[in-house]
């Protein structure tokens, strides 16, 4: 399914995680998450250098309708924060997988194996629809 790219990993809290060639990971929220929230108007990312525990609240996205926390998919240190998406939150609505929020260096690369693959995330989305 187009809205759940097969090359990404996912969390139960609707973040997507992309494994980069240099060992870092890029994080954003899924198409499904932005669809639930509606028009985005505010994004606050964690700053570079901050260490995050797995599942720690680390960012906020707000739509006209509601505020929603974004959680660290795995433990690691933030290496970059996307200022473009903070100044243009609507980029998440336009393409949730291009509008990344932050990058992090995992404490332990093996932690990625604990995340959902596209198929498992698809099932999660479907189960939440009922």
């Amino acid at each position: 399914m187009m809205t759940i790219p097969s090359d990404l990993k996912y969390t139960k809290s609707h973040e997507w995680v992309k494994q980069e060639a240099d060992g870092s990971v890029t994080v954003g929220i899924t198409h499904h998450a932005q669809d639930l929230l509606g028009d985005m108007v505010f994004v606050e990312n964690p700053t570079a250098g901050r260490h995050l525990a797995a599942s720690e609240e680390c960012a906020v996205v707000e739509s006209v309708k509601a505020a929603s926390d974004v959680y660290a998919p795995i433990a690691g240190t933030v290496t970059a924060s996307n200022e473009a998406v903070e100044s243009s939150p609507e980029a998440i609505n336009q393409d949730a997988y291009a509008a990344w929020m932050f990058k992090m260096k995992p404490d332990n690369a093996a932690d990625l194996n604990g995340l959902l693959d596209a198929g498992a995330y698809q099932k999660l989305v479907e189960s939440e629809a009922h």
């Binding site: 509606g38 028009d39 108007v41 505010f42 606050e44 906020v60 707000e62 006209v64 309708k65 505020a67 609507e90 609505n93």
Partner: protein, 360 residues
């Protein structure tokens, strides 16, 4: 089982995202809430507000009944079709509901009340009617659908959609209504824009909706309805005021007539009140979004945001907040958002009228 308006299937056909709104299955948006908001400010949009209830009050003594029932003075409306916005209060001066009442004839007034309060309102009105010994027949009109067409081009597009309607409705003044056959057209709304609120028999609603769509009137969901009314500085029942709130502290003093000799339910309580709070507009200076129930910290004590959201027209966050009386226009206050204190400026509202920002 959620209640449905006569346009339920039409909303789904048009791609609406439906939500449970106080027990009603209603459209939240049809794609983008912000685009819908702009469409109303810049062109024309339509809202299905058939969950709201029209109530006909008929009989020789209707005006007398309403004099005692409503906080605003129904004697202000003398021109046929003229509408009045009013609160209906309990004995403690709390707001049972806010409503619009249209004076049609001396023996016929039509009221429109909120969806969530409709049953309570009917029970209250019937009880007041009986205890006051008024000969008034109170008839809920669930057989009518209500469609609001709002925006600078709303009236022109309505006239295109309904041939023959222009002659009858073009001379309506703001806050005035008339009947066109089985249709009831009022120049009222909840957006701060020009336009009409139209009542038609339930069976005719999908046809009217589709005819308006053919003229380029965009369907608008409840999401944009809320940001439009907030920009226009209009209270939302249940959020900005309720049975525990005095209209005098909720920004509705202009709708309460304490001057005339007339008595009404809640008047004595309001007269005896010592006011402590006031409703003000807030403009968030820092980045973020103001939301209902956030705490407001001021030099005069704490307050609370009643309605807060993002304003698409101003491209920043705005709110209606209940704050202590000492707070002045132009003051900077702090709003607690996720354990941080962000700065907000106290401003006069409405924030937006007829497509234009009123904030300097």
């Amino acid at each position: 089982m959620l209640k449905q308006t006569p346009l339920n299937a039409t909303h789904r056909e048009m791609g609406a995202k439906m939500v449970d709104f106080g027990g009603w299955d209603m459209p939240l948006h049809y794609g983008s809430q912000i685009e819908e908001h702009h469409k109303v400010r810049r062109d024309a949009g339509m809202f299905d507000v058939s969950h709201m209830l029209a109530v006909d009050l008929k009989g020789a003594d209707v005006r007398g009944f309403l004099r005692g029932l409503l906080a605003n003075n129904v004697d202000k409306v003398q021109l046929p079709g003229k509408a009045l916005y009013s609160c209906m209060l309990n004995e403690r001066g709390g707001v049972i509901d806010d409503l619009i009442v249209y004076f049609m004839r001396e023996d016929w007034f039509r009221m429109v009340v909120n969806a969530g309060t409709a049953e309570k309102d009917l029970a209250w009105m019937n009880a007041q009617c009986t205890s006051g010994g008024h000969a008034v027949e109170i008839t809920p009109r669930r057989d009518l659908a209500i469609i609001a067409v709002q925006g600078p081009n709303a009236r022109a597009k309505m006239w295109e959609a309904m041939p023959g309607s222009q002659e009858v409705s073009e001379n309506l003044k703001p806050f005035q209504a008339t009947e066109i056959g089985a249709m009831f057209v009022g120049r009222t709304g909840y957006t701060g824009e020009d336009g009409f609120e139209i009542m038609v028999p339930v069976k005719a609603a999908p046809f009217l909706w589709k005819s308006l769509a053919e003229q380029g009137v965009a369907p608008i969901g409840l999401g944009a309805r809320d940001t439009l009314r907030l920009e226009a500085g209009m209270n939302l029942y249940g959020q900005d005021m309720d049975e525990e709130t005095s209209p005098l502290e909720a920004g509705l003093a202009w709708t309460v007539d304490l001057d005339s000799l007339r008595d009404f339910v809640g008047k004595a309580a309001l007269k005896a009140q010592t006011l402590k709070r006031q409703m003000v507009g807030l403009l968030l200076v820092d980045k973020g979004v103001l939301r209902s129930h956030q705490k407001v910290v001021s030099a005069h004590g704490d307050g609370e945001i009643k309605s807060g959201s993002f304003s698409p027209t101003l491209n920043r966050s705005i709110a209606l907040a209940s704050v202590p009386l000492g707070v002045q226009l132009g003051d900077l206050v702090q709003v607690e958002i996720r354990d941080k204190l962000l700065s907000a400026k106290v401003v006069k509202y409405p924030f937006v009228r007829n497509g234009k920002s009123l904030i300097n």
